[in-house]
Symmetry: C2
Subunit: 382 residues, 2 copies
């Protein structure tokens, strides 16, 4: 049984995701669709609008056959780590091909990766903004390609990760359809996830741009997850903890802990705090990720150890997903978890478990220990 | 100018406190009433119903002439430390006499303190429940006195502290009037502070048992401070911090950090958490104090250092209080703070500053830095 792999956040699952999913199946000719999806926190470091189980359920309703969690130590990361982590899991799950949207799927991304090697050799060591700018400038001069659109950049990261990690995956960029990532309007059948979140929170009708399951979940949404509600927790910890302890937080660097402590003391709102902390040096996404790891009190050593020990935590599957799992089960390079045990919460899945406890700010549902996957089997199997 | 000293929490200020204040003035014949009052958190480890400035204002309206803060490292402590800290400050402020309510003011407390010395010599080292029980039993057999009422116990602590610290203070227990500490009914003119809190929160009229200033403050109360609102902060920190870090919290002992971490993981409500943690070994007050110091991330060393370096933080005064301060100012053994500076928040007043930041869960008011005292001068001085 051949499977096509997708990498997603589904925050929430919308018509653009349906289109991506159907197209991936079509172009790959695969029988099963395997999705690696971020958990309760997104790549930008924000709590997802729905917990991972609800979003996995939306994905299943939308055509996915198997949904596996992208652990927080891969998901809440810069794009390079996010892409590498997701592909590692998809390769471990034995998918043949990974299909992803890009603004310019016609580009020769493999060649861009090689071009970057040349720049690296010329002395650039780091993927910072300044570097990205210089790289893009040189790239544009040499090839006419301007790597600035978010999905193009992510596509680049997939190619780079697959090559560096020598993953046996066919990569296939496809044309993104519909709304631009930054587009905040709702029109036609496809809108961006952020436009949908904003519209839904404003009480506007989004039924034209999301499938029925997402529409139903949105209608039942009681608490809107967001940093505003996490800020009191972050604020107190930033104020009370010694700077030496804060400095150990993963991604905290260059004295940012002093800046954050001072900003926390002075600001009662998260918006004010974030404005006080922001400099050109850090993107908002980077700052949100630092905030999250600070709240999780996870240090560099803990996150790097976790990154070296991934697992395949199954969030949802249907008949095809189950059958696919059966065929690949004995060849898996990483542990397969269908239900997290009390022991595992202290070990392998500790970071996700802790993120789930933090996510309980928004839901009483236990996110990991003994939580069974979402399973939808067709009638003939009962 | 002679001053009488009072030790109080005023949570909130009520008619019983007015009575205490007037009686203290009467029996002492003093011209000025100096109050040492706990700050934003009470001896039991709970956030006060009103912040320290509002309560100092209530006290001023109720007849106090000078209100000084009992720093958190003295206030949020077992009765022995609370009493000792308060008397140290009152002695430093040069008051002649301290007047306090007791259930049995006629007892010879000095003799009870001596009796305790004998028990100590017999090998009892600690003021734990088991010890208290044994001590009380022996005391009752020997003297017929049963030291079980809360204000009698506190009176005993005042006598013990004054003797041990050799403080030049006259101690005068007076009869408590009206409601029992544990009495939860509102009748007559005097009710207990806890009965008043409960009644006020239930929307019942408490105008018969509190002075107008307290009644007005209660009518304006928008957010009701309590552990329920602090629990999300505590819960996340208990879950995320390494047990080794939690173990360093002041008052955390005997593996309580493991018990608290496990209870936090399983309980979404503070009541459930507290029930899960409670054993016969610890009183609720002790557990609340541990919770508070854990949230403040203050360790033993930090608290003991602070206890060795007290100060006199002026919260409120009127003409008489100002005049009294002028007469004693040059002889003060501890620094007098009328306005906390940005530097002091990192030094001398750090623990109170941090407690004030935590208390901002309930109020946007900055509690320390640059906060001026409440001042009420009579017209002729303007």
């Amino acid at each position: 049984m051949r499977a096509v792999g997708l990498v997603a956040e589904y925050n929430p699952f919308h018509n653009g995701h349906s289109y991506h999913l159907q197209t991936a199946k079509q172009v790959s000719g695969a029988e099963a669709v395997v999705v690696v999806m971020s958990g309760n926190f997104t790549q930008r470091g924000e709590p997802a609008l729905f917990d991972k189980w609800q979003r996995a359920n939306q994905a299943l309703a939308g055509g996915a056959d198997l949904v596996v969690e992208l652990p927080i130590f891969y998901a809440v990361q810069p794009g390079t780590h996010f892409a590498a982590g997701a592909l590692r899991l998809l390769a471990a799950l034995g998918v043949d091909e990974v299909v992803f949207g890009a603004e310019h799927p016609e580009w020769d991304f493999a060649r861009l990766v090689t071009a970057e090697d040349d720049f690296q050799r010329q002395g650039f060591k780091d993927f910072r903004a300044t570097y990205a700018t210089q790289f893009n400038q040189a790239l544009a001069e040499k090839t006419g390609v301007s790597l600035v659109d978010p999905n193009d950049i992510l596509a680049f990261s997939y190619y780079k990760a697959a090559r560096d990690l020598k993953l046996p995956l066919k990569l296939r960029p496809i044309q993104r359809r519909g709304a631009d990532y930054h587009d905040q309007t709702i029109s036609g059948e496809i809108a961006s996830a952020s436009a949908i979140r904003q519209a839904a929170l404003a009480g506007e009708d989004v039924a034209t741009v999301v499938p029925p399951q997402t529409a139903a979940d949105l209608a039942n949404l009681r608490v809107v997850p967001g940093w505003a509600a996490l800020y009191p927790l972050l604020r107190n910890h930033l104020i009370q903890a010694p700077v030496g302890y804060l400095a150990q937080s993963y991604l905290m660097s260059e004295g940012l802990e002093y800046r954050m402590k001072a900003a926390a003391e002075r600001n009662l709102s998260f918006d004010g705090f974030l404005r006080a902390v922001k400099t050109k040096r850090y993107t908002y996404a980077r700052l949100l990720r630092v905030c999250l790891y600070t709240l999780l009190e996870l240090d560099q050593e803990a996150v790097e150890r976790a990154m070296a020990n991934p697992y395949l935590h199954v969030l949802a599957f249907n008949d095809r997903g189950r059958d696919y799992l059966h065929t690949v089960k004995k060849d898996l390079a990483y542990p397969l978890l269908t239900k997290v045990t009390a022991d595992q919460k202290e070990g392998l899945v500790n970071a996700d478990y802790r993120a789930g406890k933090l996510y309980q700010t928004f839901t009483p549902v236990e996110q990991d220990v003994k939580h069974a996957p979402v399973i939808k089997l067709s009638r003939k199997n009962h």
